[in-house]
């Protein structure tokens, strides 16, 4: 039973990781909280749903969701943050304008979906259950875990092993010096937002499939968790966000399994509070990570 719950928890963690990595990536590079990230996540699920609804295969829906969410995220950056950055007032201004963008996207989705909860047709994802030892795993769970692991590995590779990743980290570290090395920060920002949105979109499809329930408000709880995860992980730390996603996914799954329902969020946020009392900069955060805008 415990092993089963740990397994389930790991799958949930994967989804949180996909969602919060993008959130963290953006925070790490711009010190901006992109509160439209939940709406981008929801858009991914919607795009996949309407692709399947229109007769397309799920894999196509998945790819479209990733691309559309990525592009939407780039658009959010250009509309909400780019001009604000020039004024140097992006931290708080950006919070407000991204809440606005999130509302616009959510409202459009509400109109399109007619305020309905959308469900994929039966067997959109083949229902196959594997059993081994005492454990039960569905093919969907395997796919979710696999997709999350592959995407995290790709992101890690891009970020730490390629010239592109070095440029992203250079801009994160010191935008001025990066510009003097011929890097165009706006291009790096667009690429980063695309990655962030694409990961969120993928997470949206996985969540939509897992619960077979897609609605225009589905991004809200994830935004809340994403927020908690980047704080717990240590603002802007990618390994930290990964670790925090696993902690969150596990704690959530285990409390749901073993404790009265309704206590889940209380316990999660109480745990967050406790961890931050002991480690104020998060699990893997650095001393200056919370020093908003202090790098310029």
């Amino acid at each position: 039973m415990l092993a089963q719950q740990l397994l389930n928890g790991l799958v949930v963690s994967g989804v949180y990781a996909l969602f919060s990595l993008g959130f963290t990536l953006v925070f790490g590079i711009q010190r901006i909280l992109n509160l439209a990230h939940g709406a981008v996540f929801m858009t991914g699920a919607m795009v996949a749903y309407y692709t399947v609804d229109g007769g397309g295969p799920l894999w196509l829906g998945f790819i479209l969701a990733i691309v559309v969410s990525g592009l939407l995220s780039v658009l959010v950056e250009i509309i909400c943050f780019r001009r604000l950055r020039k004024t140097g007032d992006e931290e708080f201004g950006g919070v407000v304008s991204s809440i606005g963008a999130g509302l616009v996207i959510t409202t459009i989705a509400q109109q399109v979906s007619n305020t309905q909860i959308l469900r994929f047709p039966f067997e959109t994802f083949p229902v196959v259950i594997f059993r081994f030892w005492d454990l039960r795993v569905s093919m969907l769970q395997l796919f979710m875990a696999g997709a999350a692991i592959v995407m995290v590995l790709i992101l890690g590779y891009l970020f730490y092993k390629t010239a592109f990743g070095r440029r992203v980290r250079a801009v994160t570290d010191n935008e001025h010096a990066a510009m003097l090395m011929g890097i165009n920060p706006n291009r790096i920002y667009s690429q980063t937002y695309f990655l962030a949105g694409a990961l969120a979109g993928a997470a949206g499809v996985l969540v939509g499939l897992a619960f077979n329930s897609i609605s225009f408000v589905m991004g809200d709880p994830y935004l809340m968790f994403g927020f908690a995860i980047i704080i717990l992980g240590g603002l802007g730390s990618i390994p930290g966000a990964l670790l925090a996603s696993v902690v969150f996914g596990m704690v959530q799954t285990l409390t749901i399994a073993y404790l009265p329902s309704g206590l889940t969020d209380t316990i999660i946020f109480a745990a967050l509070f406790l961890i931050l009392l002991i480690r104020p900069h998060g699990l893997l955060g650095q001393e200056d990570a919370g020093n908003l805008g202090g790098r310029r």
Partner: protein, 234 residues
């Protein structure tokens, strides 16, 4: 090589450059000296395309660079080593040097990793160390090496001696002299006038956004006004 003509720059009303003209010929080391707030960094940042001028022009070998963005300027072979070093502190020495290659934009590299390690051997020993944990002198060497990786035809240096011990300053300036011998053109900004004049062929003196004097470095070092104002102790 570099021609700056009547350059004017203002930051939200504060006039930082009030019509600056200056030339750097190929192979020369030219020094720019002046007190705090004279506008030296503003000039370099305007050449580099970080700051946009109100008026005036910057040309490199006849090509107009005025108002060009930094990536265009680096592509023209002008690389700046900024004030107070600015290494990419969370990245390793090797990664820092590798980022420098972005400035090539596909141009052929004049200096590769082994050239940089020849100029600054300490960087090779520290190649996998986090740049933020290097000493000030090592960081200064790293940012110069990083700019070299970007294939400079003209190197702009903003106060490379700032905050360094005399022994280290000597090392850095020896390396710069070696680079000059290899044919690199350098525009050197310094507050340490003595150092700047001894390391350069010609020099400009800047005060309150204007060039107030210029000439051969050796001659300026003898100039009574300069000795009184900038070489007081000498």
């Amino acid at each position: 090589m570099l021609e700056v003509r009547n350059l004017k720059v203002a930051y939200s009303g504060i006039q930082a450059l009030r019509g600056v003209s200056l030339d750097v010929a190929k192979g020369e080391t030219v020094a720019l000296i002046g007190p705090n707030g004279a506008g030296k960094s503003s000039l370099l940042n305007t050449i580099s395309g970080i700051v946009r001028p109100e008026a005036g022009s910057v040309t490199m070998d006849g090509a107009d660079l005025t108002g060009m963005r930094p990536w265009g300027v680096t592509n023209a072979g002008i690389l700046q080593v900024p004030e107070s070093r600015k290494v990419f502190s969370e990245m390793t020495v090797l990664e820092n040097l590798s980022v420098g290659k972005t400035a090539l934009h596909g141009r052929a590299a004049d200096y590769d990793l082994s050239d940089v390690f020849k100029v600054f051997p300490i960087l090779e020993d520290r190649r996998n160390q986090r740049a933020g944990s290097l000493s000030g002198g090592q960081q200064q060497m790293l940012v110069i090496g990083r700019a070299l990786m970007g294939g400079p035809r003209l190197l702009l240096l903003d106060e490379p001696s700032l905050g360094l011990a005399p022994v280290i300053i000597a090392q850095v300036f020896e390396a710069l002299a070696a680079l000059k011998t290899q044919g690199l053109t350098i525009l050197l900004v310094e507050q340490n006038a003595h150092l700047a004049l001894s390391a350069s062929d010609r020099a400009y003196v800047m005060e309150q956004g204007k060039i107030v004097k210029s000439g051969d470095s050796a001659a300026l070092a003898e100039d009574p006004e300069i000795t009184a104002l900038y070489l007081g102790q000498a």
